[in-house]
């Protein structure tokens, strides 16, 4: 069963057709990278997969279930953003458990999931800090922790390393790759960096002007 299945996806903004008929199948455990220049529609595609935007046509299936009309929180996905998007007024701990809080996961299960993820990403000493007190790499790890703790079917990465300096980028690339190998997650990763794509992906989809 494919983890993600996209058929004939179209997206129009007014008169501009941003996505022109996308077909894509991703198997469970694959690390798929969407590469392409700015403006080719890859971020839009990611937003539609996440459910943050609705397609103008076509269908999306996640884990065999049609999710065109399903809200983002019910799609069993997690997303890591280029700007990390950590909640500034909450501690790292609260940032990571916020999603579980919204879903009313019992306290004990929350603590357990938090401990597991904190250990995996080595962010245990940071749990009581605010995002403004963290470095770029630490923030990125917390953002990944927030995604990991949901244990989703699909991980979506939206150019997560673009804000980091070159050395940190290389380190984080390896970390993400190792994470993938360890937990066999299904990942859809968007970037404009071809090297990043080639070092990390098991499959690459090149996008140009709204088509793959």
């Amino acid at each position: 069963m494919a983890a993600l299945s996209i058929r004939g996806l179209h997206k129009r903004f007014g008169l501009v057709e941003v996505l022109k008929g996308i077909d894509l199948d991703i198997e469970s455990g694959e690390f798929t990278v969407l590469v392409g220049p700015s403006g080719c529609g890859k971020s839009t595609l990611l937003n539609i997969i996440a459910g943050l935007e609705r397609p103008s046509g076509g269908s999306i299936e996640i884990g065999g279930r049609v999710v065109n009309d399903v809200a983002p929180k019910d799609r069993d996905i997690a997303m890591v953003f280029q700007s990390y998007a950590l909640y500034p007024s909450m501690t790292v701990r609260q940032n990571i458990t916020f999603g579980m809080e919204c879903r009313r996961v019992p306290r004990a299960a929350q603590e357990e999931a938090l401990a597991r993820v904190a250990k995996l990403l080595q962010i245990e000493p940071l749990l009581n800090r605010r995002p403004s007190q963290l470095s770029g790499g630490q923030r990125q790890r917390v953002a990944m922790g927030r995604a990991l703790v949901r244990d989703p079917l699909l991980f979506l990465f939206d150019e997560p390393l673009s804000n980091l300096d070159a050395k940190l980028r290389v380190e984080m690339r390896m970390e993400i790759k190792q994470l993938h190998q360890r937990i066999h997650s299904t990942i859809v990763y968007v970037t404009h960096d071809q090297i990043e794509a080639m070092t990390m992906a098991t499959r690459i989809a090149v996008m140009h002007m709204g088509e793959i």
């Binding site: 996440a50 943050l52 953003f81 998007a85 909640y87 500034p88 007024s89 916020f98 927030r146």
Partner: protein, 285 residues
């Protein structure tokens, strides 16, 4: 070697500023002086002058005993009226404006620009223009000559300002934050309560100070839509000065004016610093 003495241009500006400050301060100084002078003192000398002897009875008289339109309770009940109008009006218009500004800036929906334009239009409409419509509305809902009616008017009108302020502040919050919250499962109100509101103190302080000062100082609606014991202090002060006694009671009137000005002065003294900071603060670093 630079000449460290200020240039003539700077001196001129300083002189102008001192001149303007004096123009503002002189009436205040006269009122303050008159409030501590007895009636005989003012009548016999002139309305402008140093007190012969310091007299504090004007304040007690104004607060609790002076007669306004045959009701001899002083201005105390009217001060409470004003506060009873201003505090709920400020709180409600600020909160509603914050939610409205949040909705318009961070949740795109069809027609949001139009709605924002319409709400903001209220900022520019003159009070006098809305007098008659409000009179009709108050009559229809049965709230004429009540404090509740004035609270309603000020809340709704305050919405224009607070929505404008809050929306301009909230546009600085990155959309990614809202996206992350949606994926986490937070809805409209939870996102507001847990994520956006904690980022809001600067603009909330600005809005509260602005609204408090505006609603408290408001005169036209107060004097038009209420009378007698329901009046806010701005309207009551006029009735107070209309009180015909044997002798014009400038001392008591001055004391009454100072008491009436106290709340907004206090707000300025305590919060003025935050006002400027809040206007220039950004939402997220």
């Amino acid at each position: 070697m630079r000449d460290i003495r200020p240039s003539w241009g700077r001196r001129l500006i300083a002189l102008l500023l001192v001149g303007f400050a004096a123009a503002y301060m002189v009436p205040l100084a006269i009122v303050v002086l008159n409030s501590v002078r007895s009636v005989e003192d003012i009548i016999q000398t002139s309305t402008i002058g140093w007190p012969r002897a310091l007299v504090l009875s004007n304040f007690t008289e104004a607060w609790g005993h002076y007669c306004i339109a045959e009701v001899c309770t002083g201005i105390r009940p009217y001060l409470w009226n004003s506060l009873a109008i201003t505090v709920p009006g400020t709180l409600m218009s600020t909160l509603l404006g914050a939610v409205a500004g949040y909705a318009i800036s961070l949740w795109r929906f069809r027609g949001d620009a139009w709605i924002f334009g319409l709400v903001t239009l209220g900022v520019f409409l003159p009070e006098q223009m809305k007098l008659l419509p409000w009179a009709i509305v108050l009559r229809d809902v049965g709230l004429s000559n009540t404090l509740t009616g004035l609270v309603m008017i000020h809340t709704i009108q305050g919405l224009s300002f607070s929505t404008l302020f809050c929306r301009n502040y909230y546009v600085a919050i990155p959309q990614d934050l809202i996206k992350a919250a949606r994926i986490d499962g937070a809805g409209f109100f939870r996102t507001f309560w847990r994520i956006v509101l904690p980022l809001s103190p600067p603009i909330l302080i600005v809005t509260v100070i602005w609204q408090f000062t505006g609603i408290y100082n408001e005169f036209l609606y107060g004097v038009t839509f209420t009378n007698g014991t329901q009046q806010p202090i701005t309207a009551a002060l006029i009735s107070l000065t209309a009180n015909v006694a044997n002798v014009p009671q400038y001392g008591v009137q001055s004391a009454a004016v100072l008491i009436a000005a106290a709340p907004t002065l206090l707000v300025y003294l305590l919060g003025g610093r935050w006002f400027v900071r809040g206007l220039t603060a950004g939402a997220v670093k």
